[in-house]
Each structure stands twice: as C-alpha cells, then as structure tokens.
C-alpha cells in the first residue's frame, strides 16, 4: 500500500514538475515581453514631456501634465514587474526621430505639423505594444494612454486651424 502511494506521489510530482517546466518558460517569456513593452512606453512618455517642454508650443503645458500622469501610471505597472524605472530625458540626442523633428521644425505651423506626426507615432507605439500585455488592468491603462494621445492629436489639429 505504501509502495502504491509512493508511486502515485512520484507520478503526481512528476506531472506537476513537467507542468511547471512547460508553463514557466512561457510565463517568463510573456512577463519579459510585457516588461519590455511597458519600459518602452514609459520611456516614450518621459521623452514626450521633454519634447513638449522644449517645444514652446501653445497648449504644451496641459499635454506635459497629461504625459506625466501617463508616465506615472505606466511606472506602477513597471514596478509591479520588479523592473527598473526609466529616468526623465535630459538630452535631445536620446529622443526618437519623431520627437526630435518637433524641436527641429521651423515656425509655429511647421512645429505644430511635426507635433501631429509625433502624436501619431506615440499612438502607434501604444497600439503596437498592446498585443504584448497580459494583465487586463495594464491593457486598459495603455489603451487609455493611447486615447489620451489621440486627444492630443486632435487638439493640435484644431489649433492648427486657428
């Protein structure tokens, strides 16, 4: 009887171990992809704050405030994965091309057009990374951040017509 239990226990342990081995790499891979996505999104929000601070565009202050809120919200998800937080950008050399283009654009109208292109790139960045997220609340955070950038885009469009 004892021998039968041992065999059962061994089989059960083996099955549990095999299941854990099968699940662990997949879970680790998913967490890594989610962490990479969130880290990149946090970086993008911090870069956007730098870009708008330097841009001197009308209406930039409200956008900076919202991008800060985005960065903070994403940071909570980054921290939940025990990943290091990103530092605020302090140099143009670290910016993505679309962000740099805003600062290098000439007059107000050209800069506004560049800001629209930049917001489209931020929206695309969120859309691209949504597929890598697992947690429903993280998905909702990133989806609403994406919606926030869509509102920034239409704000630029409206201001460009005035």
């Amino acid at each position: 009887m004892r021998e039968r239990l041992s065999r059962r226990e061994a089989l059960a342990a083996g099955l549990a171990g095999a299941a854990a081995l099968a699940i662990a790499p997949a879970a680790a891979g998913a967490a890594s992809a989610e962490g990479d996505a969130l880290t990149a999104l946090m970086r993008a929000e911090l870069d956007a704050m730098f870009v708008y601070r330097e841009s001197r565009l009308d209406g930039a202050a409200a956008i900076i405030e919202q991008d800060l809120a985005h960065a903070r919200a994403i940071a909570t998800h980054v921290e939940a994965l025990a990943l290091p937080l990103q530092r605020p950008a302090d140099d143009r050399a670290d910016l993505p091309p679309e962000g740099l283009a805003v600062l290098e654009a000439g007059g107000g109208a050209a800069r506004r057009q560049a800001a629209m292109a930049y917001e489209r790139s931020l929206i695309a960045g969120c859309a691209q990374r949504l597929a890598q997220l697992e947690d429903p609340n993280t998905v909702r955070t990133v989806a609403t951040v994406m919606a926030g950038h869509a509102q920034h885009l239409v704000l630029h469009e409206l201001m460009s017509r005035r």
Binding site: L15, G59, V139, T141, V145
Partner: protein
C-alpha cells in the same frame, strides 16, 4: 500490469489537468468576445443615428465614422441586440457627447477582457477614435479641449 499502470497514469494526468484548469477558475471567466463587443456595437449604432440626426458637416463626418465602427465590430464578431446606451434629451451634439462617453466605457470594459488580439486592437482603436470625437464635440460646444489624462468615458 502495463495496462493498469497506464490507466493510473492517465487518471493522474487527468487529475493534474483538472487541477491546472481549476487554477483558472478561481477568477470568474469573462463572457465570450461576441458578448463583450456587443455593448460597443450598440453604442456605435446609437452614435451613428445621433450624428445623422445632428446633421451638418461634423454630424455627417462622425456618423460615417460610427457606421465604420459598427461594421468593424460586426466583422470582429460582435453580437447585435445589446441595450443601446441612454441618450439624454437636448441639443443633438450634447446628446452625442453623452453617447460618446458611454461608447468609451463599453470599449474600456471590452479591451481588457477580449481574448482575440484583433478584438483587443480594435476596441483600443475605437476608444482612441471616440476620444478624438469627444475633443471635437467639446470644441464645437465651447467646452474646452482636454479633460482627463486617461479618456475612459467617466470624465465630465
């Protein structure tokens, strides 16, 4: 003996499988995607009708956008027949603004729960598009532009 050993193994494997499946049942299983997308479809149809009633250049443009939303939701499998959100009485664009907020709440609910990656991408895109409409409407109504960092239909 061999047959008996395999039977025991199969039973244990089945038990382990049930145990693993049970782990997922600790949280309530969300409805299927067709049901999760249904409120978004109902809201898009209500918005299309509201914008058609509003008319004008903005109304016609946004009605076309909402008809496109409805078509894409149907293509993603959204079920017809969900309750349409209530539209308040009053000026058409103000009613549309309230409906946009209801649509955004439906999209936010769905985006976190749908299983298909395509459905997730679609609801996120529709949320962003309706968030754009809100700024356009607020501008037209003289209410100002941005209201929240996280447009989810719960802001004023």
């Amino acid at each position: 003996m061999v047959a008996g050993r395999w039977s025991r193994r199969v039973l244990l494997a089945a038990g382990a499988g049930l145990a693993l499946a049970g782990c997922g049942d600790t949280e309530r299983e969300p409805p299927p995607d067709v049901d999760l997308l249904a409120p978004s479809l109902a809201a898009a149809l209500a918005l299309a009708a509201a914008y058609e009633r509003a008319g004008g250049r903005l109304g016609r443009a946004l009605a076309a956008r909402e008809r496109d939303h409805a078509q894409r939701l149907r293509e993603a499998g959204a079920r017809d027949g969900a309750d349409a959100p209530d539209a308040p009485d009053g000026p058409p664009l103000e009613a549309a603004l309230a409906l946009e907020q209801a649509a955004m709440r439906a999209h936010v609910h769905a985006v976190g729960l749908v299983r298909a990656r395509g459905a997730r991408a679609l609801t996120a895109e529709l949320l962003a598009d309706d968030a754009r409409h809100v700024v356009q409407l607020r501008d037209r109504l003289g209410l100002g532009g941005l209201t929240t960092s996280f447009p989810d239909g719960r802001d004023a």
